[in-house]
């Protein structure tokens, strides 16, 4: 924290402290809605409000019953399982396709690079409800074809549809983060590797991949969170069998206002914090590697 220089005028002093108050207010504005659900989720009663016992910090006012409900009630377990099936597959797809696209689009000889990049990133810019509507028509046709022509079961087809749709939403994040890492990538390294006898595949996995890994991983985390938190597209594309956690929370909010939703939300927030902390650690690591590299 910087202290005021002794020559600061009264006006500067007033601004110095006003500035801190403003910053504090912005932080509060951003975080309060998220923070407030955490104590509420430990409510001993089935209410969405702070009980007098909670406000008095009486231990009897708090309990883990909503967490117990979240982890035992089939209404919640099934969506949790669905989310844990769909998100990893969608992430793997997003990461593989997004990384390849970013590498391809970073080569100067590729024609119409900007146009292709814009198309690939569009799911991030187009309003979600519009993407979802488009995906509904596209994937319902594809689903019918998979069921009727290829003979896959309805449930399998449903998962494939949601996974593909979520992968499309995650790809832009991967492309953006990987492209950003590739900007600092020294292409003479791949030349050096080829020169020493490494095949293009060896060069990719042993030289290029380790160096762009931070970008790949953070893109992957964003893709994972996107799929894990997504409710609009899955409502359009999925069937009841593919009900995910956000979907269950969404319907739960309308049908039964149970604090279990708050427990679920807290779990999601915790997962997001862990994932974002990982991203930050990776970013620091890559900066260390890159900051000290010869360029």
């Amino acid at each position: 924290m910087t202290s005021l220089p002794i020559y600061a005028t009264t006006g500067q002093k007033i601004w110095h402290y006003t500035f801190r108050v403003i910053v504090g207010l912005i932080l509060f504005f951003l975080i309060a809605p998220i923070i407030i659900i955490i104590p509420l989720s430990f409510n001993a009663e089935s209410f969405f409000t702070f009980t007098p016992e909670m406000l008095a910090l009486d231990p009897a006012g708090y309990s883990l019953r909503h967490y117990r409900d979240f982890f035992t009630n089939p209404d919640w377990i099934r969506p949790l399982q669905n989310s844990l099936i769909i998100a990893p597959f969608a992430t793997v797809l997003s990461v593989s396709l997004g990384t390849l696209a970013a590498i391809g689009l970073s080569q100067s000889h590729v024609p119409y690079r900007r146009a292709i990049m814009a198309i690939l990133i569009s799911p991030m810019i187009v309003p979600l409800i519009i993407s979802a509507t488009g995906m509904f028509f596209f994937y319902s046709q594809m689903g019918l074809w998979m069921e009727n022509t290829l003979g896959f079961s309805r449930s399998f087809t449903g998962y494939v549809k949601v996974i593909l749709a979520h992968a499309a939403l995650g790809i832009p994040f991967v492309i953006i983060t990987v492209t950003a890492t590739l900007v600092g990538f020294d292409h003479s390294l791949t030349r050096a590797a080829a020169n020493m006898g490494a095949t293009p595949t060896q060069t990719f996995f042993k030289v290029q991949m380790p160096l762009i890994l931070p970008g790949v991983v953070s893109g992957g985390l964003f893709a994972f969170i996107t799929s894990f938190d997504e409710v609009v597209v899955v409502l359009f594309v999925g069937a009841a069998a593919q009900k995910t956690l956000p979907w269950q929370m969404f319907t739960g909010l309308r049908e039964q206002i149970s604090p279990t939703i708050l427990a679920a939300a807290t779990v999601l927030v915790a997962i997001s914090i862990v994932l974002l902390a990982t991203v930050e650690m990776l970013r620091r690591r890559s900066e260390r590697l890159r900051g000290l590299s010869p360029n």
Binding site: R191, A193, M196, T199
Partner: protein, 366 residues
């Protein structure tokens, strides 16, 4: 060194052309034969095509036309990773995520060499460049000179017969550059490898190479040993590019086999040696090195032509004196004299006569 025939050369460029855009040729009709074990430098200003030639040899660029042969085999259709050529890059290109040891081990690993053999070779290569204690370091933890030594070791560790170097010392300070120049030439000769070295630094080219190919405008202007290049430039580009040089322009007045006289634009007549001038009446640029100009008339051949000169500036440079003269109407005629006890120090304003031996003054293309 003898001129080598293309079919017995280790590396051969035959009628090679390169164009990036399909219109302008960056390399125009390159013919070059490099015998085994030679240290050849491609020297030229930036944009002269020297780096493009190196990249074509390494396989990172393809020749638009012509044939490049390595040990008698055309490499046009061989990808870079199958050519087995070592290379040192200008920016070192060490893998930042690997230690020095892992960097050196990389070319051996992709060749599926056993662990113990790999370790022995890595150690030997690092010892060769006096970096034996640095195997566990990462590139980022080393100075530029140390990184360049490691890059050199990495290019040599898999024992290639041909090593390419792309301005490897460009980013280093003068002292380190001189030490490494010496070490690189020594290593190359010890190991008997063929080296193709690219630089724009003429001192580097002259001190390190067996032969130097001077590039300009996509063509080799002259391919010769360092002393030939300096003392017997074949055209005015080479004379200008290599070392310091005084140029006078005029018309050939009289020509015989070994000598000619040139009437300068100022009207003065001088003696010169015809190198690539045609007949009487052709325009020519004569080139004379600053250290070959004689200010002591008694040391000239009897009957030799002299020019009147006026001293404009005298610069004391320690080992030599650099004196700027006005000669034949030009203000930038420079002579260099050795700092010896009996050497006269010319003061500005002095009028003197200068001359030279006809063989030191070369009449070149205009």
């Amino acid at each position: 060194m003898q001129q080598v025939k293309n079919d017995e050369a280790f590396v051969a460029f035959e009628r090679v052309q390169k164009s990036y855009d399909g219109e302008t040729l960056v390399v125009k009709d390159l013919n070059l034969a490099i015998p085994k074990g030679e240290f050849l430098t491609l020297l030229g200003p930036s944009g002269s095509g020297k780096t493009t030639c190196l990249m074509m040899l390494a396989g990172f660029e393809t020749a638009t036309h012509g044939d490049i042969r390595l040990d008698g085999v055309s490499v046009n259709n061989i990808p870079p990773h199958k050519r087995g050529i070592g290379m040192v890059f200008q920016n070192y290109a060490l893998f930042p995520h690997m230690t020095v040891g892992e960097n050196l081990s990389f070319p051996l690993e992709v060749r599926k060499m056993g662990k113990s053999e790999r370790e022995a070779k890595v150690k030997r290569a690092l010892d060769m460049v006096q970096m034996g204690d640095f195997a566990a370091r990462r590139p980022a933890q080393m100075s530029g000179g140390q990184q360049q030594r490691v890059a050199l070791a990495r290019a040599l560790v898999f024992e290639p017969e041909l090593v390419l170097m792309d301005e490897p010392l460009g980013a280093l300070d003068k002292q380190l550059r001189e030490t490494l120049q010496f070490e690189i030439t020594n290593l190359a000769h010890q190991l008997g490898i063929t080296v193709v070295y690219v630089t724009h630094d003429q001192t580097e080219a002259l001190t390190m190479s067996d032969r130097v190919a001077v590039f300009n405008d996509g063509r080799i202007q002259q391919l010769a040993t360092p002393d030939d290049l300096y003392e017997r430039p074949q055209n005015s580009f080479v004379a200008q590019f290599i070392g310091e040089n005084n140029t006078l322009t005029g018309v050939v007045q009289d020509i015989s086999d070994k000598s000619c006289t040139v009437r300068l634009d100022s009207g003065d007549v001088i003696d010169a040696m015809p190198v690539n001038v045609g007949a009487v009446g052709d325009r020519t640029k004569v080139s004379i090195r600053p250290e070959r100009v004689e200010i002591d008339k008694t040391r000239l051949q009897p009957g030799a032509h002299t020019l009147k000169a006026e001293v404009l500036e005298f610069i004391y440079m320690g080992d030599i004196f650099r004196t700027r003269l006005r000669v034949a109407g030009m203000d930038d005629f420079v002579i260099k004299t050795r700092n010896a006890p009996d050497q006269v120090r010319l003061t500005p304003g002095t009028k003197i006569d200068i001359g030279w031996l006809a063989q030191d003054c070369r009449a070149l293309d205009a």
